[in-house]
């Protein structure tokens, strides 16, 4: 097969490309330039689109003996991921940009271009398994990335290749070292790649400006002030800066965000408990399951798994939990699993 290997400059995508080569495929490496003005060097472990990362990817491709190019996807990434991220926070939701990037960039814009240019498959370093065309969790539970891939439709998964799903991270690093790849010991990237300093609140303030408002408790009494509702996420405890202590001194958490009235509502931990959620735009990673679906749900990357039943009502996904998951933020993705198999996903709009 003709394989397009997306190479971020990290160890995972380099080993994924190496495995595609070893499997006998005709592999071409591509680094996706996501920023219109890439920084020269990485800042710590964050980011994946500096010139240094691009050079690391090129070196890995050289070692593997495959052609290598850089694709400029900055315009699409800016519009479909970064602008969306800002707009979601401005609307009081908590987006997951990695999910959006997989949905709209890697397995949409890049995949479409790859197919048009004659490639059969896009190969990435995601830790996930494809079993008979169905998306499954990786065997390394600490690295499993099936959650951020839960937005992919069957036609996208059909063109995807995830060679690392059967491996543990340590083994991937050892394999990279054995292949002579210089990125073998490179730190894992984490956080949000387009916020290189890692301070999301500060980054949002630069773009959205100060929007002061009140922090209130569930009775409506003002207990503090803030300078931007976008800086908060449901379930957040730290950094609230409340001026009025709670009765009994119990810690308080963000329960809700109202961007129009610029109000943050806080309350006790048990008020974060949720028994149902509504999520929009359901996507099925295979055939739509028999409804109501009984299985499990994951509500954030590397989050806990909750037993649930799910149904579709008026086009939205309704999920009911057996236990009471806590602190579910609208904007995040709910991914449904049947044991280790990803069934589908939707974007959380409200909880009860």
């Amino acid at each position: 097969m003709k394989v397009l290997a997306a190479m971020s400059g990290g160890v995972d995508s380099a080993v994924a490309a190496a495995r595609a080569v070893a499997a006998g495929h005709d592999v071409t490496g591509v680094h996706l330039a996501l920023s219109p003005s890439p920084a020269s060097f990485r800042e710590g472990a964050r980011g994946c689109c500096s010139l240094e990362d691009s050079r690391d990817a090129r070196r890995a491709a050289d070692v593997l003996g495959i052609p290598f190019y850089v694709w400029d996807v900055a315009e699409r990434f800016g519009r479909d991921v970064v602008d969306d991220f800002v707009a979601e926070y401005a609307a009081g939701r908590t987006p997951n940009p990695c999910v959006r990037c997989n949905e709209r960039i890697k397995f949409s814009a890049v995949l479409d271009r790859a197919v048009a240019l004659g490639f059969d498959t896009v190969c990435t370093g995601h830790y996930a398994r494809l079993v008979d065309g169905r998306l499954h969790r990786a065997i390394d539970p600490g690295k499993d990335q099936s959650y951020v891939l839960g937005v992919l439709r069957p036609d996208q998964l059909e063109r995807a290749m995830f060679p690392l799903g059967d491996s543990r991270k340590d083994d991937v690093r050892a394999e990279a070292a054995g292949l002579g790849l210089g990125v073998a010991a490179k730190p894992d990237s984490h956080d949000i790649c387009f916020i290189p300093h890692g301070d999301t609140r500060d980054w949002l303030r630069e773009r959205l400006g100060e929007q002061p408002g009140d922090i209130v408790d569930t009775s409506g009494a003002v207990v503090g002030a803030h300078d931007g509702a976008y800086a908060f996420t449901v379930g957040q405890r730290r950094g609230l800066g409340l001026s009025v202590p709670a009765p009994g001194g119990a810690p308080r958490y963000v329960l809700g965000i109202s961007p129009v009235s610029r109000t943050i509502t806080v309350g006790a931990l048990d008020e974060l408990d949720v028994s149902e959620l509504v999520a929009t735009n359901p996507v099925w990673c295979g055939p739509m399951p028999a409804l109501p679906f009984t299985g499990s749900a994951q509500l954030r990357a590397h989050g806990e798994v909750h037993a649930c039943t799910a149904d579709v009502v008026d086009g939205d996904l309704m999920v009911t939990f057996a236990d009471q998951p806590r602190g579910i933020a609208p904007g995040q993705t709910v991914v449904l699993y049947d044991d280790d198999m990803v069934v589908g996903s939707a974007t959380i709009s409200s909880t009860r």
């Binding site: 071409t28 680094h31 330039a33 920023s35 219109p36 003005s37 890439p38 010139l51 691009s54 052609p67 190019y69 850089v70 694709w71 400029d72 996807v73 900055a74 315009e75 699409r76 814009a109 890049v110 479409d112 271009r113 048009a116 240019l117 004659g118």
Partner: protein, 393 residues
């Protein structure tokens, strides 16, 4: 493999490689006083004489540098500093809008870190600057002009500038003029003295010499403030231990390239004309950029430059590369984030046309087989690139 990227770098001539190899293991710093030093110095000075003869300069006008970028930096900054120091009113750099980045960025640096301002000299749709346009720009205020820089031939679209006429205009006002002749040497007749310019950049690896060796030809009475300071080896204008072997290779390449230039240009031009005709028959809507090939003196003989409507240049390049055909996109590239070529924009073309462009450049090793390989690959390549063009938008 069909290598159609000689404007990026062209393979070394065997004679130049031999001359260089013979010297690489020899001891001797050309500045040393002992016998080994004198032997090295002799090679350097004989090479200087050879290069001077090949390019129409006096030996004392040849300053060895590390290549085109250094020569351009030295010419722009050195001439600006010398002229500005002798009369602080002289701040204005007059540059054609299609210069190489080694000139552009040196000049921009002077605007950011020094007193310089830039007047961009417009070009026509073929990429050519007229002497009238230069005269008009100087006439805005002849007293504040520090220098003029106009390339001999453009690296992207191959347009040849009327350098002698431009030099006459500059000298009417007593203003020095530099030309970046990196693409011209070996492709066109180049005579420093006859051109009338005050400074000229050339580099070895574009005409069959080694990488990392070039010259700035600098008139003897042209003031030039050094950029590199140290031992003052080259006329106190350029410091650094001379690379004797590379200089010997550079001299051999210059001699051979200039001697063979007329015959080679005819041969390469015929191949280039076949390439252009073949692409135009295969892809009728391809747009040819620059001066028409019929104007044989107006365009580098080895250069062909096309825009393929509806295609992205990087997709075309990748698809051709996969078929063993090597060329360049028409856009400058920083970590793969392509910016539309400033050359095509200056010629009045839009971003679409700039983005979808490819440069094919032929040289001394090019054959009809290379041209045929491109012609047979171009149709499926353009069709495929066209179908992929909108995915990333």
């Amino acid at each position: 493999m069909a290598y159609l990227d000689h404007a990026a770098t062209t393979p070394m001539l065997p004679e130049a490689a031999e001359a260089m190899a013979a010297l690489l293991t020899q001891p001797g710093n050309a500045s040393s006083l002992h016998a080994a030093g004198r032997r090295a110095r002799r090679v350097v000075e004989e090479s200087r004489e050879t290069i001077a003869a090949a390019l129409g300069a006096r030996p004392s006008e040849v300053i060895f540098t590390s290549g085109g970028t250094e020569s351009d930096n030295l010419a722009i900054k050195g001439l600006f500093w010398a002229r500005h120091r002798s009369d602080p009113r002289r701040r204005r750099l007059l540059l054609s809008a299609v210069e190489h980045h080694a000139v552009l960025d040196s000049a921009l640096w002077l605007t950011e870190h020094d007193a310089a301002t830039i007047t961009w000299l417009p070009v026509d749709e073929g990429g050519r600057l007229t002497p009238e346009a230069l005269r008009a720009a100087i006439d805005e205020n002849p007293d504040d002009v520090a220098m003029v820089s106009v390339m001999w031939a453009n690296n992207e679209v191959g347009t040849v500038q009327p350098i002698e006429a431009l030099a006459r205009v500059a000298h009417d006002y007593g203003v020095p003029i530099h030309t970046d002749a990196v693409q011209a040497v070996g492709q066109l007749p180049v005579d420093f003295a006859a051109s009338g310019v005050d400074a000229m950049t050339a580099t070895g690896h574009k005409f069959g010499g080694p990488l990392g060796a070039g010259v700035l030809l600098l008139g003897r009475d042209v003031g030039c403030t050094p950029v590199l300071h140290g031992g003052g080896q080259e006329r106190d204008v350029r410091s650094g231990t001379l690379d004797v072997a590379a200089i010997a290779g550079l001299a051999v390449a210059a001699e051979v390239a200039v001697k063979e230039q007329p015959a080679r240009a005819d041969r390469v031009r015929a191949l280039r004309d076949d390439l252009v005709a073949g692409v135009q028959v295969s892809v009728p809507d391809a747009l040819f950029n620059g001066v028409p090939v019929a104007d044989a003196a107006g365009r580098l003989p080895g250069n062909a430059h096309f825009s393929f409507p509806g295609c992205e240049g990087d997709a075309l390049l990748m698809l051709l590369d996969a078929r063993g055909i090597e060329c360049s996109t028409g856009s400058a590239c920083s970590a793969g984030v392509a910016r539309p070529s400033h050359v095509l924009l200056a010629m009045g073309h839009d971003e679409e046309r700039a983005r979808g462009s490819l440069r094919f450049s032929l040289g001394h090793t090019s054959t009809a087989t290379d041209v045929d390989a491109l012609i047979s690959a171009i149709v499926p390549t353009v069709e495929r690139a066209r179908s992929a063009a909108t995915a990333l938008r």
